[in-house]
């Protein structure tokens, strides 16, 4: 919070208007690349890190995993539906891939992990010395034995978080699913396990059928809905988590414009993740940053001052 009322940009510190510190990570802006999007290759992570405040790599597990057959993503007028199936080269190959980020990355790197047990989760962290933080995928809605399968049981969530925390000194984020009766219950369990921040939310279970061929459009039949369609759903989760939890909330779900970023921050998000919006524009981070600079200039408030403002407003 700024003590003085003179806006930062007047004091020649316009770049500070967007800066945010998230669990010790210094981020030039609150915009993070969401996991699973463009996150399999270090080259795209490096490229995106030029403008993004942080990048989250695609979820990785202990073993290589092929994922589902194509089609794994379909778009519709209001977003995307995907069932990629956590395709991953496995922990060793991926750690090697990410090594180059150390030299060339321009913002913090978050490594997303999936696993079936707390031990398996914890075994992954030592492989990633280049990671600045870890995100636990407790929420992929379309894979067996991982993701939501482990992330909808509060006890298990608490145990996983605690075990991972013991394995690393780096911040640990828990990415939650909206496909539960009460996201706050899961968030609280993660908090009790010692999580540093929660990420809300992963995709919403959904599917689409082609009426000409009369077949589901995804090879996996169903998948997870992302994009603008789910923005109000994600926002509600962020609102509730901000109200009930003490740890920071990272908002994700349908954020496409700078207005969406502000909306999530007002609801309580310290940072936000951008995923499906890359479908609309690969310059999304650059354009969001420029728009947010203009917005903070117009209001004279830095973004961190706005976190949760709609609760008290």
């Amino acid at each position: 919070m700024q003590e003085t009322k003179t806006p930062l940009y007047i004091r020649g510190k316009a770049h500070l208007m967007l800066e945010v510190e998230l669990c010790g990570l210094k981020m030039k802006n609150p915009l993070m690349l969401a996991s699973g999007i463009m996150g399999s290759h270090v080259s795209s992570l490096i490229r995106i890190s030029r403008h993004a405040g942080a990048v989250v790599a695609k979820s990785v597990g202990t073993e290589p995993r092929e994922g589902y057959r194509n089609p794994v993503v379909v778009n519709y007028a209001h977003g995307l539906i995907n069932a990629v199936g956590l395709s991953s080269p496995g922990v060793r190959a991926f750690a090697e891939e990410l090594e180059k980020f150390r030299a060339e990355g321009r913002s913090p790197l978050v490594v997303s992990l999936f696993a079936s047990t707390s031990e398996e989760f914890a075994s992954l962290t030592p492989h990633f010395p280049m990671a600045d933080a870890f995100e636990l995928n407790l929420s992929c809605p379309h894979a067996e034995n991982v993701g939501m399968a482990v992330g909808s049981d509060p006890e298990l969530v608490k145990e996983i978080v605690a075990e991972v925390k013991r394995s690393t000194e780096k911040p640990v984020f828990a990415k939650l699913s909206p496909n539960v009766l009460d996201v706050v219950e899961i968030g609280k369990a993660a908090e009790e396990g010692g999580v540093d921040a929660v990420v809300a939310v992963n995709t919403v279970k959904g599917m689409s059928i082609d009426i000409v061929s009369r077949k589901p459009k995804l090879s996996n039949i169903s998948g997870g809905v992302s994009g603008e369609a789910i923005k109000p759903i994600a926002l509600k989760c962020v609102w509730d988590l901000y109200k009930e939890l003490d740890v920071p909330v990272i908002g994700v779900g349908g954020i496409t414009t700078w207005k969406d970023v502000v909306e999530f921050i007002l609801a309580g998000a310290t940072a936000v993740q951008i995923g499906s919006a890359l479908f609309y524009s690969h310059r999304i981070f650059y354009s969001l940053v420029e728009s947010l600079k203009a917005y903070t200039r117009s209001t004279g408030e830095s973004l961190v001052e706005l976190v949760g403002k709609a609760h008290t407003g």
């Binding site: 999007i37 399999s40 080259s43 795209s44 995307l80 995907n82 090879s219 690969h282």
Partner: protein
Amino acid sequence: MYCVRVEKVVKHSKDVATIVFDGILPSYPGQFVMLNLFGYEEIPLSLSSPRSVTVKAVGETTRALVDISPGALVGIKGPMGNPFTPAEGKALLVAGGIGIAPLLYLHDYLIAEGVEVHVFYGARNADEIVCLERLKSYEVATDDGSAGFHGNVVELAATKDLSSYRKIYACGPEPMLKALYKLLNERELLNRAEFSLERYMKCGIGVCGSCVLENGLRVCVEGPVFSAAKLEW
């Protein structure tokens, strides 16, 4: 995704066929579609005309597609991706193997625009050379010498004066494109060239990140056609 019906299948050889749809897909040469062969996979394919793809059987899905029956439905996403940019005057097309597919579309498009088009078309052997009847002016190269120039298509190109071509378009295997890059770089013609690249592609719409290049750009969205000068090879 929407469905189109296969109207006609033109077999060029045992392994190569042109699948003609029952309607035109509004598109430009160089664009691709994600074609979903139901029961198999969804795969990226360059359009070989506004209403067709030309496919070589290299795996289970492409094999089934080459053998598809007229009347079958296939799912389509697109056309997508950046097309070739048009030329004026004289244009050269350099094709390697099934890389001829998008160049067939470009060939017809440029001819219709009044461009003078010449094609260098290389393949392993004479059997793999297809659709020559669609080309107005061409030279063929084969690795085994079974047709035309004995050698690869870049070796053929190297024997020529290329400086009169205002644009040079190429599509083919990456080693071929890299060799062509080197040749054009030596001749200081790189800024006239556009290459259509291939990468393992899953979503086709820019989110999965399967097809990113070493420079972080995506073949499906920032490509598949790139200015050769920007490739930093």
